[in-house]
């Protein structure tokens, strides 16, 4: 796929050389997250160097998309978008901490569970859906039987 085709696939999005691989991955239903070749640390959103060691040799490396909910809100209003319903408890919006590294997070929605039932700590996994008119992206679903089993400690601000 050429750069021009990539830009055409994401109209209105500021695609550049630093984040192109992430967006190419989304088109292939893969989560390609920046990983430093020197120290092995991951970072997101994509940057041109490793914040931990300043290494500039970065490999766009696939993550499984498994993790747990660290933040959750329900959007009761917003711009119309295919596949988004702001009614009935609101559109779920979460931050998911990936298993690959503490603090490595993606934002997205959770499908298959009523918004009001999503809790901090719920185990989730990535889910890919074809929604006509929506830009390609990963969603999440709660792993059955694993609600609330994530690594989040409540109180004392102790998420680590």
């Amino acid at each position: 796929m050429t750069d021009e085709e990539l830009l055409d696939a994401f109209p209105g999005v500021r695609i550049d050389a630093d984040n192109a691989a992430w967006h190419r991955g989304l088109l292939e239903r893969r989560l390609l997250v920046n990983r430093c070749d020197d120290c092995g640390r991951w970072h997101h959103p994509p940057r041109p160097l490793c914040p931990a060691c300043w290494g500039r040799s970065i490999t766009h490396t696939e993550v499984a998309g498994d993790g747990f909910v660290v933040l959750v809100t329900a959007l009761r209003q917003g711009p119309p978008q295919p596949g988004v319903d702001y009614g009935d408890g609101g559109h779920a919006l979460v931050a998911v901490e990936l298993d690959e590294q503490p603090g490595l997070r993606l934002a997205g929605t959770v499908v298959g569970t009523p918004t009001a039932e999503i809790r901090v700590g719920d185990r989730v996994r990535a889910l890919w859906r074809d929604i006509p008119g929506r830009l390609p992206r990963a969603d999440f679903e709660i792993v059955a039987g694993a609600a609330g089993t994530g690594r989040v400690a409540g109180g004392e601000g102790a998420s680590r």
């Binding site: 933040l71 559109h91 929605t109 901090v120």
Partner: protein, 401 residues
Amino acid sequence: MSARRNPAMDQVAIVGLGRSPYARDRKGCTPGSLVSEACVDAIRDAGLGPADIDGICGSMVSAQWIQAALGIPGVAWFANPQAVIGNQITAAVAAVSSGMADTVLVYHHAYRLPWASRSAAKDPMRRRATLGVADARSWWGTGHNDTGPNSLYGAPAYAAWAGRYLHDYGYTRETLGLIAINSRTNAARNPNAVYTEPLTMEAYLDGRMVRDPLSVYDMDIPIDGADAFVITTTERARDLPRPPVLIHAATLGHTDYGSEEQLRDLDHAGQMVVVDRLWAKSDLTLADVDVLYPYEGFSNIALSWIENVGYCGRGEGGAFVADHWVEAEQRIMIHGRIPVNTHGGSLSEGGTQGAGHLHEACLQLRCDAGARQVDGAAVALVTPGGYYFNSQGILLRSDDT
């Protein structure tokens, strides 16, 4: 190099205050019309004219534009840091204390963009003002290019962190409600406030939910309006007509977790950097503070500021506010004497990202706050901004303390 170093302490003062009055919908206004009105007002308030201004530091409207619009003949220093107001204040203090400029005009405006209010979204000229980009910060190339309802960038993350705060510390929405009611109660005595009718807890809890757990009452009021400030040396300030408001210490605060959903947790926010620096640079302590201005563009931010400036421990802000709530007055009075956001804040005066908080703090220290004047107010602590790229602290004192 020490975090304590503060050669600018009390050497720079705010000598002029100006405003373009806040309104829910100013027909026919532009960012330039709002900012220019506030700037003219501030320069006149300082007893100065255009030839006295040799530095300009504003937010979105360019310094060159305002210089030409106001006919300021010669400017030796200018800058346009991004919002919020502490960025302009700290830059202006640096310019004046270093001698880059003697008298700096500072300004910030709020102009309702389509994502900020429904009526603004119906205005085709306002729609065009965002160039069709969902998150305006993507202009800046900061990597914030995820859009719409599946992104936590911007306002949704404040709601998510508010939910996390309630979750971690076992609070309910009533805790947030006290911040909203406090602002509304204080706004009743502020003629510049856009919402002044009393707010009950029952009405608060019935408020239309926007992003759980934040309702319309937890989110700053979109307005059109502007603030401006004239800043010069304290030495020169003493020859000008208004009582000088001395900038005792000012700081910004960032952590390396600068984007919303990547913030490690609320114990590693920009606020911690601000507070550590601010008190290290200050000869004053929290016990000296007479009036407190924690930003509450989202209600939960104010709880975090109250904790982090030192009134109580992390997670204790909700309990602290409840303990210092005066039921008969329907507002917070810390230790029975320190009111919070005496102007009504972003939740009731109108949302200007902390510029209104700074304006009010200056009015109080000039004994110029009308019916809401706090007797003997001599030290004000202003903490604009939220958790990420915008945490700021400004400690102000009157000249006679």
